[in-house]
């Protein structure tokens, strides 16, 4: 008996003119140490890895650049504008990141509220327009609002990234309907960013038909980040495969799986 199966052939995962194999993108923050981070990223199979832009620590007591640990030739570095609360700051951070010389992609965040870290959609749209004009490939972190997503696409964003739930919350996909609607209505890739807590969340998210998921805390804050990264890899692949397979219709009553004919008297 063979266990080989012909899996459903997926379309390439294309963002901003680049093709990737993995639909899982991972962050590099909050790991207990650099070695765990590197091993977790390996286990995740991710190619796109996010980084943040911050001041160099001038006393150099411990901190060093993440690039000491991450092979920038192997991974596609996606700089973010995390921590920016204004259009001006986000544009400034994006330009600094581009100057590092890796690529013209940016994960744009313009945060509007400290407690929820929900996006300031007005600032986000302004920043997206400016950065697109400036030649950036903008991946915009946004909420699950369809109209904002449509406007981000109109602004020329390379991808739109609605949240599953607030950043670092691990609450999972709170609004599958909205995420599905965004995916259905947009032409550019839709990548769910933030809120996934465990593998089932990732799987359910991918089952909505979105193009990918970006996560950080769910892996970094797991008891065993390397093992969770592996679980996330499987979950993203499983969710994607299930979406492509097309699930059965739901019904409110049972239907027997075994024949009703041929029962004994």
């Amino acid at each position: 008996m063979t266990t080989a199966v012909a899996t459903v052939r997926d379309t390439p995962f294309l963002i901003g003119g680049r093709t990737f194999q993995s639909r899982l993108m991972v962050g590099t923050g909050k790991y207990p140490d650099h070695e765990t981070m590197v091993r977790a990223i390996e286990a995740s199979g991710a190619e796109i890895v996010t980084v943040a832009v911050r001041r160099v620590n001038l006393d150099r007591s411990k901190e060093e650049s993440i690039l000491h640990h991450l092979d920038s030739k192997r991974f596609f570095l996606l700089a973010n504008t995390a921590g920016c609360y204004t259009t001006e700051d986000a544009v400034r951070y994006a330009r600094l990141a581009r100057e590092a010389g890796f690529n013209e992609f940016v994960k744009l965040e313009v945060i509007g509220d400290q407690e929820t870290l929900l996006p300031d959609v007005q600032g986000l749209l302004e920043a997206a327009k400016m950065l697109v004009q400036d030649g950036f490939k903008v991946l915009a972190y946004t909420n699950e609002d369809l109209v904002t997503a449509l406007r981000l696409e109109d602004a020329g964003c390379a991808a739109v990234m609605p949240l599953a739930s607030p950043i670092g919350s691990g609450l999972g996909l709170l609004n599958p309907f909205s995420v599905r609607t965004i995916k259905r209505r947009l032409t550019v890739p839709v990548v769910v960013d933030a809120g996934v807590g465990t593998a089932s969340d990732a799987c359910i998210t991918m089952e909505q038909g979105v193009d990918g998921i970006l996560m950080n805390t769910a892996i970094a804050a797991a008891k065993d980040p390397v093992a969770m990264a592996h679980a996330m890899r499987l979950a993203v692949e499983a969710g994607r495969a299930a979406f492509l397979a097309g699930r059965m219709a739901k019904r409110e009553v049972a239907m027997p799986s075994s024949p009703v004919e041929g029962m004994l008297d």
Partner: protein, 70 residues
């Protein structure tokens, strides 16, 4: 006489020699120019130009790099 000028680097006061360039500032801080991005008075200065930009009193310099983040 050892005159210096006062500048701000990453939000902290620093003194440098008059006429020092951004490249010399990085050397004094033991930073590899390839590993940092330099902003001088809110304007990004590209690596090849770092040796040609002199510092004047009151200048604000930001030196940034990539750190872990999501």
């Amino acid at each position: 006489m050892n005159e210096t000028i006062a500048v701000t680097v990453n939000g902290e006061p620093r003194t440098v020699a008059p006429g020092a360039t951004l490249l010399e500032l990085l050397a004094a801080l033991d930073l590899d120019p390839r590993a940092v991005v330099v902003e001088h008075n809110r304007k990004i200065v590209r690596r090849p130009d770092l040796g040609g930009v002199g510092l004047t009193p009151g200048d604000s310099i930001e030196l940034v790099h990539f750190v872990g983040g999501g």
